[in-house]
Point group: C2
Amino acid sequence: MILMGHGAGGRLSHQLVEEHFLPRFGSSALSELMDAGVVGELALTTDAFVVTPRVFPGGCLGRLAAAGTINDLCMVGAVPVGLSAAFILEEGFSLEELDLHVQALADCAAEAGVPVVAGDTKVVPRGAADGLFITTSGVGRLEGGFRPSPRLVRPGDAVIVSGTLGDHGMAVMALREGLALGGGELRSDVAPLAGLVRALRGAGLEVHAMRDPTRGGAAQSLLEIAGDAGVRITLDEAQIPVRGPVRAACEILGLDPLYVANEGKLLLILPAAQADEAVAVLRDARYGQAAAVIGRVEEGRGVVLRTSLGTTRSLRMAAGELLPRIC
Amino acid sequence: MILMGHGAGGRLSHQLVEEHFLPRFGSSALSELMDAGVVGELALTTDAFVVTPRVFPGGCLGRLAAAGTINDLCMVGAVPVGLSAAFILEEGFSLEELDLHVQALADCAAEAGVPVVAGDTKVVPRGAADGLFITTSGVGRLEGGFRPSPRLVRPGDAVIVSGTLGDHGMAVMALREGLALGGGELRSDVAPLAGLVRALRGAGLEVHAMRDPTRGGAAQSLLEIAGDAGVRITLDEAQIPVRGPVRAACEILGLDPLYVANEGKLLLILPAAQADEAVAVLRDARYGQAAAVIGRVEEGRGVVLRTSLGTTRSLRMAAGELLPRIC
């Protein structure tokens, strides 16, 4: 039976994909379980967006649907060339709210320079869907040998994040739980990362791996990279940028910002010798102002956090029931 | 407010797209309103599938989701190169039924020779979705100057259908309405059309337009083509292949098979001089055995049906509330 955790991006989600999808599809592109599948010099990706509430500080379902898919293409090194959007609408849904999401989706795609070239709408009766679900897909082109992959990650590499962690998840969570915390300071970071990646490419940096830490947060993404690369990633907690209101809200709810979803951040792994330049490039670009080196790659296994107190703890993959419908 | 008719493929659906989507996306590829958007030498398409019931004689949601997207690519002349599938699951959904749909999707894609290269799963709480929705997207390559488009349609062309009309819609409708009619003989035609199109291309036929008549049926597709091409299409009712049980069920429900959805048929328009060869090519291929010339293109406007009684009537675009959730 399907549980909420099957959709939360953690251990249960992986199990669902590995036991129920991969054996049937058997495509090598799919079995790499990357953000986007690669076929020839093309990348294809898809994501269903079911976030609730649909409008939140900093963004909305429509913006999320565009940014999420653009970012998935960017993370495998593809230059996005076109998006599609399929809308599942509940009978009685407000046309005004639909306009809001369509406009936000269009604006976000336009900001990233990606045309929306195909669409579909289906309507289901009242009660058969919760308002509006948007599934976006995108196609991108792999160019110039730029193909980040966890398999390129080596001991000696640096781990960089493009900005503060946990903003999207805590903005949605606070709204949902009615948390007064943070005033209006809890804002989603939802943004297209095409510009950041273009800047990194333009600087000629030797990017080994990139990931946008959405469901499951940075912990999940780094655990996947460490696992695929067969290395240990050690994070320095003091260096991880987290906004004050996010940290406070996390403490109240007993959450770790490393496990909270982001929608406008990227994790970057590249040779340590290029780390300072990469941080400078990110900081010069929109959405990268708070970029920082947060860790390093070593021989070993797993992801280890050195806390501000000097202790260490190993990060584990969440089962996944942390924050349902966060994207 | 969103009405069921907004999702049914008819007049209301067009209005929704033209008033709420196109002004915001403003992409020339999208504004052509074809089955797939074209960007450079690539075609991208997406469709959300919400059919109910999810399993029906002749197919299921999973098979429909693969065939529908493959067919959309084929109809614009693209050779499909990859598919993606996004699953929105309701908490508590049966894993056994999920397996059935995933397997059917995989089998249909494999039959058409198209790899599934990307996927996504989201889970929503009980009551927030009706079981399972699948959105498939596909990317294809435009090759060899094969670019059917209504703009190529000319007076003197022939109109061909690859087989019987109305099978999918009536199979689903009969099941939903509990019609005893047809006793098992009402079966969906859901099938990938990649083989048929490959055969047409292989024969070097000068295809002017192709369309798979899904929501809104053949009438809708031909009205769109006639409108885009600025021509009149005259159909000869006596030549339109419709199975006996489909005709009988349509009569009982007061439906016209020309307006009923198909999921494994194509309409083909090409010079009349090539019509016999095209029919022969289709009849030799899987899913094309009942191919027939059903009409011709003339100077004028609209779609006219010459009935078996010798009278004529103009076909009109349905508002769209005919058969909700047929695909």
